[in-house]
């Protein structure tokens, strides 16, 4: 595994998952490519392995067999970052782990895995095209997601160009936080852009995502102004206690409307499915025990969004 951004001049992307048969991220049956690295750190993030922009070790303790039988990982680690703790559980000194993956290679039970691999455009396209028959029959295609895919702008641009030249439908899911230049290059290459707007209050935004929303909102306005023909779907993850008030949703809907609208405005209920992955990464999940919004509440909020002129989406 090489930490190169390019190999033989071909852009490579740092990818943590390619997921087939996705049914909820664009039209038809889709293949999702998840890129690693994100400038935001949302408290509710369901793909925490997508945050760091380098390969990371993930440890699934229930898979680890006991130390009587196996110490292969400890034996192979040159940095000596793996040890048994007092309870006989494997520990990682993450500060000194370089994510080389040697331990994961020898681990018999996949208790240790490396999240993140550098993959070239051609290889990604090859994997996406394995599902040609399904894309063709369903009107599906490729959806690039993350992490924040536009943080790897050159790679995404090359990937979308390759996909388009081969007749693959393309979609991008973005937090909207990137250089305008990247957004400008990507916009004409995507058949659809899913643009997250999490909340309009800049202070609250910074508090829950770690960054201000100024650049995001600015990018959205420019995207609508300069590429009015691009199909943009706005999405808001509805997180209880963060942005689930009627005012929050109304403010976003009105902002979108003022900026030139969107082809759909989707509200996605928060879910806690990502929590186990925090444990695997040795991270703390701040929203443990947060209850997802009820179906009734989501319906109310969707009603409010619709009353502000935002076209709803039947997809959710």
């Amino acid at each position: 595994m090489t930490l190169n951004y390019k190999s033989n001049g071909v852009p490579q992307g740092l990818i943590f998952n390619i997921q087939k048969f996705s049914l909820h991220d664009g039209p038809g049956i889709r293949t999702m490519v998840f890129l690693k690295g994100c400038p935001l750190a949302c408290t509710w993030c369901s793909n925490p392995e997508g945050q760091s922009a380098s390969p990371e070790l993930m440890l699934t303790c229930d898979r680890c067999i006991d130390q009587e039988e196996c110490e292969r990982c400890i034996a192979v680690c040159l940095e000596h970052v793996l040890t048994w703790d007092d309870d006989g559980k494997l520990r990682i000194d993450r500060a000194h782990c370089d994510g080389c993956g040697d331990c994961a290679y020898v681990c018999p039970s996949r208790a240790l895995e490396v999240s993140g691999e550098w993959v070239g455009v051609d290889d990604v396209v090859r994997i996406v095209e394995e599902d040609d028959a399904f894309h063709a029959r369903s009107g599906g295609g490729l959806t690039v997601s993350g992490g924040e895919p536009l943080a790897q702008g050159a790679f995404v641009r090359a990937l979308l160009e390759a996909a388009r030249s081969r007749g693959i439908d393309t979609a991008v899911e973005t937090s909207g936080l990137c250089n305008w230049k990247t957004m400008r290059d990507i916009a004409p290459l995507a058949d659809r852009i899913f643009f997250d707007i999490k909340c309009l209050d800049p202070d609250k935004h910074e508090q829950v995502t770690g960054v201000s929303n100024t650049k995001i909102l600015d990018n959205f306005q420019r995207l609508r102004a300069e590429f009015p023909e691009v199909d943009v779907v706005v999405r808001t993850p509805v997180v209880p206690g963060v942005n689930d008030s009627e005012d929050d949703i109304r403010a976003i809907a009105e902002f979108v409307d003022d900026a030139g609208g969107a082809s759909a405005y989707e509200l996605l209920p928060y879910h806690g499915f990502g929590e186990p992955k925090y444990t695997k990464l040795g991270k703390h999940y701040p929203l443990s025990h947060l209850v997802p919004p009820s179906e009734a509440r989501m319906k109310e909020l969707r009603g409010i969004a619709a009353s502000c002129g935002a076209p709803g989406s039947g997809a959710v």
Binding site: I15, K20, F21, R63, P108, S109, R110, A133, F134
Partner: protein, 834 residues
């Protein structure tokens, strides 16, 4: 590496229930679905009340009458003896008409029943030896009385003990072949478990011509037999006499029902029922003797033919319904056009057939024996859709009506099969997808674009191939083209792998040689050496399988004949030969052998190649040691095995092993010819046998523990296809050797979570998935749309979930009726959730 880590999705997370699950959660009693159906088909609703609580009675009347007749005809030509026996049965078998019934005819006593086919003594049937017969205990699913046992032991079985087809097929085997067959579940012959493989009749012929016309044909040809042509006179006369006898008996059988209906009408006080009984009498006087004129007559005629078929012989999986939406359609259309029939009235008649089928139970394994077809499965496969003989889309209003019945009728009959092709209308596919989404596992799907070219390659005409129907769980038949298919052998691929790893031996059969000696794998220095040993074991097993089949085929006609079946087959009538006797002019003989444990063995070979030879993470010595100890004390090795590359994830290196295995079998199949000049094709349909077959196989290098089930049919190992359904389908497609015509069914079960198919958008995506699967030319695919939680809850509280249907393998069954091993196996199948 990619995709090793799950990522979260934006899909709705709340638990979504299918309509079928929701009805069970609400504790609804069994009945038609929806108020409209319940009120408009109140008769069916009443007939369904308490259906699941009725005990299953043995029908030994048929066995008694058959034995009586066979004793009296000793020495006569076999086809004539069976003709006389069937006539004797039809004349004397008790008959009844149940209250509410519009459709009459039953192969058993009132309520639910199981026919005893005494001519098929042997393993696989419900007893193996008379001394094992016992009256049933309370709680047993089948009611066997002391009187039943006494009659069987005293009057029936002694005759068949000395006239048993099964014993003959085993005694006639060469020594080496018998030794292999006697090791239970290595190669399992099934020839003597049923008199023939799944089939349907040409019902359309009966509806159009009537039995009377067939009788006239037989009589005229008897008249025309020229004694100067001695051979024809001697060979053909018994057949034609048997046909004439059977036609007369069938007509008289219908007339017995007419008479009974009239006498019941005379005593009937309810005016409406009296009128119904008189109508039944009129219809049974008319059909099946004469051509049907109305939908009601057509359905009654079909059902009487089916009933007589059940009394004649045990067709494997029970006789199918053929292309019911085709041969019934002219009668439906005419009645509807002339205002005689509403859709609800048509449904009542169709659902009367379904109830009639559900009342009959196929008893195979006796209680306590390893269950080969769990849940007392039988498959009256009922085909809808597909192409017309001249290659146009065949779906019609009746096809949609039958799908509607499938959504509203609560029992797991009929076993509905839909044929799909490139030009299947979207509307039909939509109705199919909505029916699948209801969640009880119907219909199963067959891809015309795969099957028709194969049937043509095997020798069918375009017209016949276009008109094929489904029989059994996943077979196909060209009804007037194919000759008999004797029950096929099941080859335990897991056992072959074990023989390869143990130099011809198997752990559960001690030190004696089971297969052939192919060397100690510890001495092998490359994967190729192991592969060569494996193919030699395969070759040995396949050779003996063909020998066993040859013996079974050639002995059959000395024991069994089926004149009713034969008279409905064009080629049998043309040559005046019973279907069970020797090669029939113009008939195609397309049998098959099943290979069980495909996924298990692909994964095992892939693991050995990766771990022992490529990555060298374990030595062959360590691996075999771990297998010998069932991985006890070798957890690290087991984990390596479990995490080695697996079939079902579109990994070309793994899938290629599957392709090599298929090619190895297909090449051997091409080299051999059967007794009647036909072929035995490679098929992957395990039904539920992968559970008992797994019980003789030790631990395998895919990480499977000893005695656990093998992988099922063509499906990847349970829970090992983790990259979603498209990758699963791609892998299955990659293992196919399309250059061979010596291929038959590949049965695929796919489990999808209800949440992934919510709403109209979900239906459209299921339609796209099915279209793509057909583009990839999957022979067969069926879906379980069910939540894992529901299955777990059903194990804990079987009473509440008594009516929960699940797709097993080519059929649906009540989950709580399955053995715990099979329940667990179904739970472990991968649920694709998105």
């Amino acid at each position: 590496m990619l995709g090793a880590v799950e990522s979260s999705q934006t899909s709705p997370g709340s638990r979504v229930l299918t309509p079928h699950e929701a009805r069970i959660e609400r504790g609804e009693p069994i009945g038609l679905v929806g108020d409209a159906a319940q009120s408009k088909r109140a008769r069916i609703q009443r007939m369904l009340e308490g259906f699941r609580d009725e005990p299953i009675h043995l029908n030994i009347d048929r066995a008694l009458l058959l034995t009586e007749s066979m004793k009296a005809t000793q020495g006569q030509p076999m086809v004539l003896r069976w003709g006389k026996a069937l006539a004797h049965i039809l004349t004397h078998h008790p008959i009844h008409i149940e209250d509410e019934e519009l459709l009459v005819g039953s192969a058993g006593p009132p309520g639910r029943y199981a026919v005893v086919y005494c001519e098929l003594v042997g393993p696989g049937r419900f007893y193996t030896h008379p001394h094992e017969l016992e009256p049933s205990k309370s709680g047993d699913p089948i009611l066997i009385t002391e009187q039943d046992v006494a009659t069987l032991k005293d009057e029936i079985l002694p005759y068949w003990e000395s006239n048993a087809y099964h014993a003959a097929t085993m005694n006639a085997l060469p020594e080496e072949t018998r030794r292999l067959m006697e090791r239970i579940f290595v190669v399992t012959p099934t020839a003597s478990g049923r008199s023939m493989l799944a089939w349907a009749h040409d019902y359309g012929k009966v509806l159009e011509r009537g039995i009377g016309s067939i009788r006239r044909e037989a009589a005229e040809r008897l008249e025309a037999l020229d004694p100067v042509d001695t051979a024809a006179y001697v060979e053909q006369r018994p057949f034609l006499e048997a046909v004439r006898l059977v036609c007369d008996a069938m007509i008289a059988f219908a007339h017995r029902y007419a008479e009974l209906a009239r006498s019941m009408a005379a005593d009937e006080r309810r005016e409406e029922r009296r009128r119904e009984l008189l109508e039944i009498a009129d219809i049974c006087e008319r059909v099946p003797e004469h051509p049907a004129r109305t939908f009601h007559e057509a359905v009654q005629s079909q059902w009487l033919v089916q009933t007589v078929s059940r009394l004649e012989q045990a067709i494997g999986g029970v006789v199918g319904n053929g292309r019911i939406d085709q041969y019934l359609y002219p009668y439906y259309r005419k009645d509807v056009a002339e205002g005689r029939l509403t859709d609800d009235e048509a449904l009542v008649l169709l659902e009367s057939i379904w109830i009639g089928m559900a009342r009959s139970t196929d008893v195979y394994a006796k209680p306590g024996m390893p269950s080969l077809t769990d849940g007392f499965a039988h498959w009256e496969a009922t085909t809808i859709g597909g192409l017309t003989p001249d290659g146009r889309d065949a779906s019609n209003e009746l096809s949609y009506l039958i799908l509607r019945s499938k959504r509203e009728f609560p029992l797991h009959y009929p076993d509905l099969a839909a044929r799909i092709h490139a030009r299947t209308p979207n509307a039909f596919l939509h109705a199919i997808s909505e029916t699948i989404k209801d969640g009880s596992g119907f219909p199963k799907l067959f891809c015309d674009d795969e099957i028709i070219p194969l049937l043509v390659a095997k020798g069918g005409s375009m017209e016949e191939a276009n008109d094929y129907c489904i029989t059994g769980c996943s077979e196909t038949k060209m009804l007037n083209t194919e000759g008999i298919a004797t029950g096929c052998a099941w080859i335990n691929l897991g056992a072959i792998l074990e023989m390869t790893l143990r130099n011809g031996r198997m752990g559960c059969y001690g030190d004696g040689l089971v297969g052939i000696s192919t060397g100690d794998p510890r001495t092998f220095t490359s994967f190729d050496e192991l592969w060569d040993a494996f193919t030699l074991q395969v070759q040995n097993v396949v050779q003996h399988t063909f020998i066993q089949q040859y013996v079974s085929d050639t002995l059959k006609s000395q024991y069994i004949a089926s004149p009713m079946f034969s008279m409905l087959h064009d080629l049998c009538m043309a040559s005046c030969k019973d279907i069970h006797s020797g090669p029939i002019d113009g008939a195609l003989y397309l049998g098959f052998f099943d290979v069980m444990g495909f996924g298990t063995v692909i994964d095992s070979l892939a693991a050995i190649r990766a771990l022992v030879f490529d990555e060298k993470k374990v030595t062959m010595h360590e691996l075999l040691d771990a297998l010998d100890h069932d991985f006890e004390g070798h957890e690290a090795v087991r984990q390596l095995c479990l995490n080695a590359p697996k079939y079902g994830n579109n990994d070309p290196t793994v899938d290629h092993i599957g392709r090599d295995i298929e090619e190895c079998f297909a090449r051997l199949a091409r080299q051999h010819t059967t007794a009647f000049g036909g072929e035995l094709d490679l098929r992957y349909v395990s039904v539920t046998s992968h559970v008992p077959l797994g019980a003789v196989v030790g631990a395998t290098p895919d990480g499977r523990k000893a005695r656990e089930p093998l992988s099922e049919s063509i499906s990847p190992s349970q829970g090992m296809d983790v990259k979603g359904p498209t990758a699963t389908l791609m892998s299955i497609s990659s293992t196919k050797c399309a250059q061979y015509k010596e291929r038959a069914a590949r049965l695929l079960n796919m489990k999808l979570s209800p949440a992934s198919l919510v709403g109209e958008a979900g239906t459209r995506k299921l339609m796209a998935l099915i279209r793509a699967a057909c583009d990839m030319k999957m022979w067969h695919i069926q879906f379980n749309i069910i939540n894992r939680d529901t299955l777990l809850a059903a194990q804990k509280d079987p009473d509440k979930y008594r009516n929960l249907l699940v797709r097993v393998a080519g059929y649906s069954a009540y989950f709580v009726d399955l053995t715990p091993a099979l329940q667990n196996e179904i739970i472990r199948r991968t649920e694709h959730e998105f």
